[in-house]
Symmetry: C2
Subunit: 366 residues, 2 copies
């Protein structure tokens, strides 16, 4: 990691601008013909097994076409279930071989947070588009290196913000944009989970980069941004830790407050200690609406102050985000969950950590 | 006010300790005989007219026995409705005459925040017990002067925290105390109202001492204290203002976060701009519970993560708090909504304002 990390900043914007643009014509023509882009799953943990691989079966524009893993048993299980050929199976260290594999168009990076840059950049250098789980990475610099690498390769980078495909969230966004209840005044969002076993990578700072805030608090943060359509200008945060052994390396519980330029204020909380708060609420000038639960894979629903329920048929959010990403590639348009979007959240996450550490409100720069 | 304010600090604890203790025996004997203590309403605004005076008719241990006002029309209205005799009607400047009126045991101060000390001290000097609306006053020093004056006079001082008599809140307190869902991890509380007309005293700093935070945010603050049973150790706050004309002198919207010594974290919000958030929620180790609405005169109710509803028959909260205060006097026991309790909240309110002003987390001293 350390070696890779040092290498990335050398790719400055100037260098990239001068670099040759790699045409996506061949990929596009093939994909448009078959209507399905090949997706390689990079990281075969629980999320890939239980959510993403099954979701790929439900997509219209994608198919599971490759595997990247360091765990032979996982590879065997995925191959047996999904029939991925041996020639499309890779280790993390030989992803460059993908360059010769026309079956793979997209690499979906589902590895621990602090490996996202390494795996994304390898995929991009192999000429693949990259869809990466949230958080995009553990620092702004690493996020930028991923954006740069994909831009240099002429490939698209997306961030796995599935909630932006949830019709409940889309309905909430519409309520704000159309000022159905007027301008938002107070936003409230929180997501807390019992993280479970103490021996997992999520509790190791080197791999996770942070704890509850980076993993689930990010949902609350992101929601306040896409709901207001604004970038917060200042954040103030407090941390609390009740189990300093289990949470020796990462944050256990955090609460933070943000002010938006339009005058709205958001207060958010997160925790790794409990399955608890998982809501989203907007109090606007003439009414309010809320989702609770807001961030589940399914079962999200909500209500409005005028008595109207917010409830839509469940859709597979992973299938939806992947189909949209494939369409962005096919239609050569930007993704609403771009790498830049992922970077913006990481910048704010870092400001939240800084505020919690220093006890000072932190202004968030561009 | 300025004159009175300068006078109070001169009453030091040492002076008070040396002062003669005024016996309450006569008052107590009379009251126990009749079972009803005479209450004089000091301030005949909307709260007195629509809530407190009607509530007094429902009490078991009190009766409306006196009026203090500077508005003859209000006095006439109250006299006509409740038959208060002329001899028990006072102006703010001649409350000392109450000393000779055995019909009045308690003065309920319902005037603007920054007049509470003046009116409380006058009532105490006339030998009356004082029940004072929240916030107790607009500074810690003024709160202390009220506590000192009542102690010097040998009279009880209570703060109008009606929610601590709401069976829904009492149920929530029990859920935490008995650890029904384990220890609290994240508390969330907010209360926002559309304050209404721009020409009222609540928007004048000299009379109100603050805006939304002092008036309704205090409910959220207080709730986090009586739910945890702990005092917050540090607070971090942000303010936002969208209407700098209407809210030129006081805070419009605030969000703040507090950490408690047991490790719980609370995030709270308040606003004068909108009728919005009015909830209370505790996410604990093994479940959660919430009230929404939590702070209304009636209609409060809630739910628990185990599916059990929190719903009790409505009671008159003003009658309940007054009956308890009367019983405290009769039984010579302290009130759970003491003046000291009122002071503690004002100290935290000041820390919240300081944090919002300075952009720094503020530690809350004892």
């Amino acid at each position: 990691m350390a070696k890779s990390r040092r290498r990335f900043p050398a790719q400055t914007a100037a260098t990239l601008a001068a670099a040759p643009f790699i045409s996506t014509t061949a990929t596009r023509a093939k994909a448009q013909a078959s209507r399905r882009l090949g997706v390689a799953l990079c990281g075969l943990g629980s999320l890939s097994e239980h959510q993403i691989a099954p979701a790929l079966q439900k997509t219209r524009h994608c198919r599971l076409a490759g595997l990247v893993s360091g765990t032979p048993a996982s590879v065997a299980k995925f191959q047996a279930k999904y029939g991925v050929p041996d020639r499309s199976v890779y280790g993390y260290d030989d992803m460059q071989r993908m360059a010769d594999n026309p079956d793979i168009d997209i690499v979906y990076v589902v590895t621990p947070n602090a490996l996202h840059a390494e795996h994304t950049i390898r995929a991009a250098r192999a000429g693949k588009h990259v869809f990466c789980e949230k958080p995009l990475e553990i620092s702004v610099e690493r996020c930028q290196s991923m954006i740069d690498a994909c831009r240099y390769a002429g490939r698209l980078l997306g961030t796995g913000y599935r909630c932006q495909y949830d019709p409940h969230h889309l309905e909430c966004i519409r309520l704000v944009r159309e000022r159905v209840f007027g301008a938002p005044v107070i936003l409230q969002a929180g997501f807390a989970i019992d993280v479970g076993r103490p021996d997992q990578w999520r509790l190791q700072h080197a791999l996770a980069g942070g704890g509850a805030l980076m993993d689930v608090g990010i949902y609350a943060l992101k929601a306040t941004r896409y709901l207001t359509g604004e970038e917060p200008v200042v954040v103030s945060a407090l941390e609390t830790k009740t189990d300093p052994v289990k949470f020796a390396e990462v944050d256990e519980s955090m609460a933070w407050t943000m002010r938006f330029p339009g005058g709205a204020i958001a207060h958010c909380s997160t925790s790794y200690r409990i399955d608890g708060i998982r809501n989203l609420r907007v109090d606007a000038e003439r009414g309010w609406f809320e989702l609770d639960p807001a961030y589940f894979y399914d079962g999200n629903h909500g209500r409005r102050s005028d008595g109207i329920e917010i409830r839509h048929p469940a859709i597979d959010l992973f299938a939806a985000e992947l189909d949209d990403f494939a369409q962005c590639i096919l239609e050569q348009r930007p993704s609403k969950v771009s790498g830049e979007e992922g970077l913006r959240d990481v910048r704010i996450l870092q400001a939240i950590y800084e505020s919690a550490r220093t006890g000072r409100a932190v202004e968030i720069g561009g």
